[in-house]
């Protein structure tokens, strides 16, 4: 019982926030590569963007990923997720 309580609490503490990442031009523009958001403020990728950048809209050419998978702006975000925003990719 006691062990279960600790297990649950640690799991909660670990996942009580959303990790937000910015890359390349966006990282420079916002002056930050990574920040944490409280999970209760956010329900979609767009809302994560709004809360973390204070910008109402997400530029059409900005790419979005949750847990390292490409997703659309209306994708639901949950506790412990890693959400990333970045400009068009130019590898190779």
């Amino acid at each position: 019982m006691y062990a279960q309580f600790f297990h649950d609490t640690i799991a909660k503490l670990k996942s009580m926030s959303i990790k937000v990442k910015f890359f390349a031009r966006l990282r420079e523009q916002f002056g930050v590569s990574e920040l944490s958001l409280a999970a209760d403020q956010t329900h979609t990728v767009l809302q994560v963007w709004q809360h973390s950048t204070q910008q109402p809209t997400l530029g059409l050419n900005i790419l979005t990923a949750v847990n390292m998978q490409y997703v659309a702006a209306d994708y639901p975000v949950k506790d412990g997720d890693e959400v990333a925003f970045f400009p068009p990719v130019t590898g190779g």
């Binding site: 970045f86 400009p87 590898g91």
Partner: protein
């Protein structure tokens, strides 16, 4: 299959040779190897470029490249795939990416290699920041087309 992100100088042909030599399952099985090597040019969009910073999304990049390599292996029945991509600071003539495909026959090797490069260029999370001869820096935000019209 090997996917590798390298923070230091790449020797593309040695990468392939060493990888192939270690894949004993390949011996005598592959009739076709295709290789693509992308290298840094000294000119881009009519400007002289003196250096370039390559950034990537660690974790997502590897996962993405593993995904496309596996898709290519499944789709074309490839024997093996190697992808090595450079990150960090590079100068003109430096290799940026190596994609090597081993297959029984050439059609699969050509098509899979090109598929991998198009997917990599379109979706793998890498970014390039150029430093021009006049010291200005700029993010590259578009690629040249992969298929000529």
């Amino acid at each position: 299959m090997q996917i590798r992100i390298s923070n230091s100088d790449l020797d593309p042909y040695r990468e392939i040779q060493q990888y192939q030599a270690a894949q004993t399952h390949l011996a005598g099985k592959y009739g076709a190897t295709t290789v693509f090597i992308g290298s840094m040019r000294e000119m881009n969009q009519d400007d002289a470029v003196v250096k370039m910073q390559l950034e990537h999304y660690q974790g997502m990049t590897e996962q993405y490249l593993q995904g496309i390599a596996q898709r290519a292996i499944d789709k074309w029945g490839l024997l093996d795939v190697l992808i090595v991509h450079r990150v960090g600071e590079i100068t003109p003539d430096d290799p940026i990416v190596v994609v090597a495909v081993w297959s029984a026959h050439r059609a699969a090797a050509y098509e899979a290699n090109r598929f991998l490069m198009e997917e990599l260029k379109s979706h793998a999370p890498f970014w390039k920041k150029e430093t021009l001869a006049n010291k200005q820096t700029r993010w590259v935000e578009k690629n040249t087309p992969g298929y000529s019209s």
